[in-house]
Every structure is written in structure tokens, then in C-alpha cells.
Amino acid sequence: MLSYIIRRIIQAIPTLFGVTLVTFIVFNVVGGDPVYQMVGKGAGQKEIDALRRELGLDRPLYQQYFFYLKQITTFDFGRSYATKQKISQMIKEGMGPSLSLAVPAFFFGSILGIIISLLVALYRGKLFDRLTVVLSVAGMSVSVLAYIIAGQYYLAYMSGLFPISGWEPGLRGVPFLVLPGLIWVIVSLGSDVRFFRTVMLDEINQDYVRTAYAKGLGKYRVLFRHVLKNAMIPIITRLVIAIPFLYTGSLLLENFFSIPGLGSMSINAINSSDFPVIKAITFIGALLYVGGNIVTDICYALADPRVRLK
């Protein structure tokens, strides 16, 4: 198992290298010169040259690339063009609010999705099953914007159950997170349940399930001992792949609920062409994605004895 993990990590190195190359090319070569945007119209050539030198943009590309690699390995991404803050500091500050919304919402959403799909597997074809299918399709078809607007209007503004928007650190921030968290769960539940349900029903029709019943096992034992373990393989894959995306939070939810997370930060950075910030967020996203893939494979190997040996 350990050697499997080590091998997967070594295999990831070329991928990460590729990621650095692509982000570098996109931002430093294709992306154009940020200096013109920064200094505004009517700036003199001297001013421009000074700024370029300051940002290191006057040096040859390979030097810029090595500089970028150095930044990455030390997790020091330089300073934001727009706010002049240290980017590593900005990310550290933004991650808290993002994760405090994303992690609980993701966690509860996934558990709820799995529970619902288990119930569906127990009551296949009955009213509960049909209702679930209809609701999850309906839930998927409605835009998240509709939930945000309806939630903020009815649940926050009209009935005052929740604050409309805002954020505070620590436990005092919890009330602010309930409504966006709820919306997150509702939005993700539709497609999760549909996927999990298909997985469960697919498993339930397998031959080994028939064997299990023929042994005299009850339906709960068949479901939890036999079916769930098999169903967990595709379910884990889907969930773990989603985890890296949690760190950027939700662009829309954070924006509408004024949560100062990485989602809001990304939108601001894009609006102001703040290249270093976007580059850092992109790279960390890619890093987490590659890491997430490794974790997926490990979970996969743990859940499925057939992949373990190779």
C-alpha cells in the first residue's frame, strides 16, 4: 500500500510540472502585458519601464519562469497588483471563510445524499423513490440564483430567520453561514442523489445480491454489508474529486452573501486583472486537484480489493 502511494505521488510530479508550464504560458505569455492596465492611459514610457522592472517583466521568459517556480515552491506568490498585499497572506485569510461555508455544506450534503439514495434503494419503485426522482430533477433545473434570491427575500428579509448577508470570524459567523449553506446543499443534492441512486440501483441488480438473499440474509444486512460497500467505490470517486474545488468556495454564494472568501477574492481579482492573484489561485487549485486525484485512487484501492494488488 505504501509503495502504491509513493508511486502515485511520483507519478504526479510531471503533471504538476505541466501545470506550472501551462499557468505560466497562459498568464505571462498569452495573457498580455498587465502593465498597461495598471498604469492607465496617459502614462509615460519611463513610468511603464520602471514598473516592468519592478515586476520583473523585463527579464527573459525563462528567467521569469524560474522565478515563478521559486515562488511556487516557497508558497510565496508575491504581491497583488491591485491591493499590494502579500498574496500568501490574502489566501490564508480568504481560505477560512471559504472553507467554513464549503466544508460543512459539502459534508452534510454528501451524507444526506447517501442516506436518501439508500432509502431509495430500499423503497425502489415506491412513492418515495418516484418523489425523489422528480424532486432531484426539479432541484437541478432551478438556477442557484433563484435559490439565492428567494432565500434572501423570504427567509432573510421577510421572515428574519437569517441575516441577509455578511460574515464574522469564529462562532459569531455561524448564523451568516446557515442560509448559503442550505442553498449549497439543496443545489448539490439534486445531482448527487440522482447519481447515487443510479449507482445503488445498479448494484442492487447484481448477481451477488441474489446470492446474499439466497443465504437467508435480511434486506438491511444485504444493503449495508453487501451493496453499500460496492456502491461506495463510485460514490467515493465522485466525492473526493469534488473536494479540491471546495477551497475556492462558491463564487456566486460568497459574492451574494458578502463572504470574504477565496470565491469573492477570485471575482475581484478577475475584475481588476490582478494576474498574480489569479495565477496563485489557479495553481493552488491545480495542486489540490492533483492531490485529490491521488487521494481518490488511494480510497479506491482501500474500497476495492481488485485494484489493490497492481
Binding site: 451477488y208 443465504k215 437467508g216 440474509l217 453487501h226 460497500k229 460496492n230 467505490i233 481488485r306
Partner: protein, 325 residues
């Protein structure tokens, strides 16, 4: 008295094409220690019958419209799901056709064997493991200790079927139903599994219902044979009756399609035609269309007639067979 007695069993499925008659007015009985083979081509209702005995028909769409299934003195069709569960894997066990897919891929073979022991016998884990190991040795799995904690994908097809057999035998069932247990295996492995089932049966007084579509397989192990055609019995009798004195044209066709190792055969004779549509049976003999021998007599429903004690055939023409076939 028979161990298992099925009387007048009829099973239907409601399908999009209408009501499908899977089994019609089936009668059969199996004595303790005996092997009954049910033979017939694909779709004639063999597996449905087996599932009905196990109480594992999907209801709906399946529906048992008449009959009784009596094991010892209990009518299985009248039992609750809970009572049935106590019997399954305990008094009646079953092995299936495809050992590749019939075992759970994420549980060890050892676990799967000891699971029924655990459920039915309420013994400790350690005892269950010891029993499971003994069973593995009994069914001829070498290095049982090591293989106990291996997963199905680490076993060959034949070894997996042995695991299935060990699993089925774990609670010493009175009746073992084997639904085409060798169909998915290589010929040489087939022979080994058949031999294993034969020896296991000799050493216990378990009864067996052996289901197959291949008459060639059954000569060795059957005491009695039922030839099923389109959900009804065409012919029944002892192995000798069927192999030496077959009377139904369908049985004769099946016998001809058994490959002979001694004879060099270019083509296997197969009975021309296919089973009639089970959602749309016409009155009269269901073999009518494919029978080289049909006449207006066959437009009436055939009934089983006794030729010699225990040998019965549902055909109007069996008496004429020697002259006309």
C-alpha cells in the same frame, strides 16, 4: 414421504407484452438423498421454479397463481418473509450459474462462506471460521488458510464455484438447488464440479435439484429427470427411462443434440424452431409447431400419461413412436 413436494404450481409475470406464463401447473417431488434434474432449453421456466422454491421471486412482477410448495410439512408459499429467511441458506441452499458474478467482489471468500453460519447457527466468530475452513477443504480448495482471506477475483472460475458450493453447504441444507452450476465453466472444470457435487451428495443425505439445459451433463448424477418445455412437463422418469426409453418427441430431440465423444459429429442436431411466445400460448400441445409428428390430436391440451411406473409423458403419440420416428 417426499422431502419437497410441488403441486400444481403456476407462476406468471406481468410484462409490457401482457401476462407471461412462466410455469403452468407444475408437479414434482424430491425424496431425501435423491437428485432430481430439471432439463429444458433457455426460457422454459427452470430458474423461475427454483426461485419460487427459495421464495425469491420478484413479486411483483411475478405472481404465483396456484399451487403449493411443501418442504417436510411446511407450505413454503404460506410462510412469512421472516420464516422464509430462516429457511434460506439453512434448510434450502442454492448455487448459481455464474461464479464470476455471484460472489461479492469486495468481501473475502472466507467471510462469504462463514456469513450464513453466522446468521443461522449463532456461533462465535472463531467457530465459524474453523467450520468455514473445514468446508473449504471439503470442497477441494487447496491452501484453505491462505485462501480464506482472499477475494473472489483471486480465484479461478472453478475455484469460485467451489466457494459457492462451500457457502451453500455451510448449514447442512436438506435441499440443494443447483441452477446450471457448470454452464459457465470449461468442460474439464465442469466435470470436476459435477464429480464434487456427486461425492458430496453421497456423503450426506441431502436432496438436490439440479437444473441444466444440457442432458449430457445429467446422466451421471440424476436419479430422476424432468424434461420441461415452455413451462410445462413434457416427460419425467428415472435416468434410465429418459435415456433409454424416451417417449416425448422433445426429449428425443434433446437426446440427439447431446454431443457424443465417441461419434465424430460434424453438426450437432438441434431441434429446429424456437419456444412459443410465453405471453400468447395457444390451446393444445406447446411443442406442436416444432414437432415433426404433430396431428390434429395435438390441438387438445396433452395430459401426462404413465407409460411404466414413474415414467410419464405428456404426448398423444408416444405409443406410435417406434413406428413413426
Amino acid at each position: 414421504m417426499a422431502l419437497l413436494e410441488i403441486k400444481d404450481l403456476s407462476i406468471q409475470f406481468s410484462t409490457d407484452e401482457g401476462v407471461l406464463h412462466a410455469v403452468d401447473n407444475l408437479n414434482l417431488s424430491v425424496d431425501q438423498g435423491k437428485t432430481l434434474c430439471i432439463v429444458g432449453e433457455s426460457g422454459c421456466g427452470k430458474s423461475v421454479t427454483a426461485r419460487a422454491i427459495m421464495g425469491l421471486l420478484p413479486i411483483p412482477p411475478a405472481k404465483i397463481t396456484s399451487g403449493s410448495v411443501v418442504l417436510d410439512t411446511k407450505d413454503l408459499l404460506g410462510l412469512s418473509e421472516k420464516e422464509m429467511r430462516a429457511l434460506r441458506g439453512n434448510d434450502i441452499a442454492m448455487i448459481f450459474q455464474d461464479p464470476m458474478t455471484s460472489l461479492n467482489p469486495v468481501l473475502t471468500c472466507g467471510y462469504q462462506i462463514q456469513e450464513s453460519l453466522h446468521i443461522h447457527d449463532k456461533i462465535t466468530k472463531k467457530e465459524a471460521k474453523e467450520k468455514a475452513l473445514a468446508l473449504m477443504k471439503q470442497v477441494g480448495i487447496p491452501e484453505a488458510e491462505k485462501r480464506f482471506s482472499e477475494y473472489p477475483h483471486q480465484f479461478s472460475g472453478g475455484m469460485r464455484q467451489r466457494v459457492m458450493i462451500a457457502m451453500a453447504l455451510s448449514c447442512k441444507p436438506k435441499l440443494l438447488i443447483a441452477d446450471e452450476p457448470t454452464t459457465a465453466l470449461d468442460v474439464s472444470i465442469q466435470a470436476q464440479i459435477l464429480e464434487l457435487l456427486g461425492t458430496l451428495k453421497k456423503s450426506s443425505d441431502m436432496a438436490m435439484i439440479f437444473i441444466t439445459h444440457d442432458l449430457g451433463v445429467v446422466a451421471e448424477i440424476a436419479d430422476e429427470i424432468i424434461v420441461l418445455y415452455a413451462g410445462t412437463v413434457a416427460e419425467r422418469g428415472t435416468t434410465k427411462d429418459i435415456f433409454n426409453h424416451a417417449a416425448h418427441p422433445y426429449t428425443l430431440g434433446l437426446l440427439e443434440s447431446v454431443p457424443h465423444i465417441s461419434k465424430e459429429q460434424e453438426h450437432l442436431t438441434v431441434i429446429p424452431g424456437t419456444l412459443p411466445d410465453p405471453t400468447d400460448y395457444q390451446p393444445g400441445c406447446r411443442f406442436y409447431e416444432r414437432c415433426t409428428f404433430h396431428s390434429d390430436l395435438c390441438k387438445k391440451d396433452p395430459v401426462e400419461e404413465e407409460i411404466t411406473p414413474g415414467h410419464r409423458v405428456a404426448c398423444f403419440h408416444y405409443r406410435l413412436k417406434d413406428q413413426q420416428y
